[in-house]
Symmetry: C2
Subunit: 339 residues, 2 copies
């Protein structure tokens, strides 16, 4: 699927990156980060310690950047996007803390997880704290519409996470069920973070819907690539962690495709390793070879690119300019990570 804008040439000749978005949002992002630190505060010292650990590990701040960028794209000229971007990041951070407990993860982005350092108990409770704080920030903002969008997103995220648990170890999971799960657990917050940019700018419903569509498709593309990278030999060469999903028996698109295209012996392998959780030395390497040989990684990437193109196309109603171009490059970046 061809990219949809005039920056095709750039995307083909150079690696797409988040840098343009970072540069455009740098000042706002500093304010968001300062507010995050301020609102993590609690007289219970362990809370800012633990929250600070994960916020610092924090990654790309992609979701709050979506709020900032979409507000800008809608011509918003106030301050509300700062606190709402922080609220979005708090929801995301709470989810990460609980995910790491649920997945018994010890590492996130190369650092020890909060649960590995402090144990599961405070990780669960500090997640709850950040979730409550996120609602306090939204209440201070005062928009019931935004509270509606983000409380709904929070419920849908939890549904997606439970759905993922339920389908774990089940190679009979359909692609449709898988897509529903990633749309819920990942794309719902991307969609909500983008949509609220239009809400605070008081733009018409069609623009809200366009930004929702942008965020939702971007989120699906992003998660598809995440799931693909878990089986990527290239990631493994780069010293990045691979095989977490495989070890947890998480059913992702690369597995579903490799399973569907596999012969009887391969299916027996997937059933043993995923359904019976019977994994030995060398099984991850074999899984990586199988998803590669059956074209499951290439197919997952191709699907992700369709969603990324859909995300970019959703921005058509908005005027061309640096922010729109940076968001389109963000969609391209989502499917170019790690290559």
């Amino acid at each position: 699927m061809a990219p949809v804008t005039g920056i095709d040439r750039d995307l083909e000749t150079s690696q797409p990156s988040l840098d343009p978005l970072f540069r455009l949002l740098a000042a706002d992002l500093d304010r968001v980060n300062a507010l995050i630190v301020q609102r993590m505060h609690s007289p219970v010292a362990l809370i800012p310690q633990l929250a600070g650990h994960i916020v610092a590990a924090g990654g790309k701040r992609l979701r709050p950047m979506l709020t900032l960028a979409c507000a800008g794209l809608c011509g918003y000229r106030g301050d509300r996007h700062i606190a709402l971007a922080a609220a979005v990041e708090f929801i995301h951070t709470a989810t990460l803390l609980h995910d790491d407990v649920v997945d018994s993860s010890d590492l996130r982005r190369g650092r020890d997880t909060a649960n590995a350092v402090w144990g599961n108990k405070p990780a669960v409770l500090v997640g709850d704290f950040l979730f409550a704080r996120s609602f306090e920030l939204m209440v201070e903002d005062g928009s019931l519409r935004i509270l509606e969008i983000l409380s709904r997103a929070a419920a849908v995220i939890a549904e997606g996470e439970v759905g993922q648990l339920v389908t774990a170890n089940d190679t009979a999971t359909t692609e449709g069920a898988y897509l529903e799960i990633i749309e819920a657990k990942t794309a719902a917050l991307f969609a909500a973070a983008s949509r609220i940019g239009a809400v605070i700018a008081e733009r018409p419903a069609a623009e809200e819907a366009a930004l929702d569509r942008f965020g939702r498709n971007l989120g699906i593309a992003y998660q598809l690539i995440d799931d693909m990278l878990d089986f990527s030999a290239r990631q493994s060469e780069l010293g990045k962690s691979v095989g977490d999903d495989f070890r947890d028996g998480k059913i992702t698109l690369p597995i579903l495709i490799a399973f569907a295209r596999g012969d009887a012996e391969e299916r027996a392998f997937w059933r043993r390793t995923l359904e019976q959780s019977d994994q030995d030395d060398g099984d991850l390497e074999r899984a990586m070879r199988l998803v590669e040989r059956r074209g499951a990684l290439a197919e997952t990437l191709a699907r992700a690119r369709l969603y990324a193109a859909e995300a970019a196309a959703a921005l058509a109603p908005f005027p061309d300019g640096p922010l729109r171009r940076a968001l389109i490059e963000t969609a391209a970046f989502a499917t170019a990570r790690g290559f």
Copy 2:
């Protein structure tokens, strides 16, 4: 401290009970329960299964009853109290699910806990779901003031829970720190649940504050008794679970009093069992004898009665009638449980 109303005689001659409150609120409570079942629904079947398990185990519905009763006490005549009582119960249920994970509890009110049946992972995530649902209910109600009160309470509850973790195993915890923790983890939701009754009835700030004071003092009394019953020989005779806090190294008022009043040998016992978590057969029985012998249970009960009397006194601004009398009896009940 003498009770503060004309029903002294009844309280002295008969056991105070929640029955009058239940009877007065029966119709409303049926509507709350129906709404709870309806709003637990999710296409992910495990969510209503797991949530239904804990909601059914559900106990006394004390917190939503406070919302219903306080709304009635304020002369409220609409329907909003139903959904808000359900929201309060969802916050409480989410907290219970996460507590049982944090405490690794297998039993709650004589039933297997959700984490014991389904494991920690879905218990954490369904807690998140119920928490999000609770905010969806509040958003539908549409009062930013109530969203403010309950989002603040949710953050404070998490702070209290983390505070409890931090002070675990530390016999140097002060009584003040202990009281702060129980006020946060338990009394904040009692206070918020009561206060919002005045908010929806659009009563003056003084009545809001009075109901907050009622709920807060009731919550502290309630938690003090909970902490006392964990060491109660009578509970043990009734076949109820005792010693959970002791085994977890939770520092509660009975322990702080017994420690402060104990001799060197007793303090060494508390340090070994609580600080070094070195517990043997017979240690729980010895702990129960020590808190009894040092008058720590009687002292905890006496303190709880002061808070319960304070709760009852906070209702003075409201007109006498069946609801006020039932709430005063609820305060008496809080300190008469299990005797």
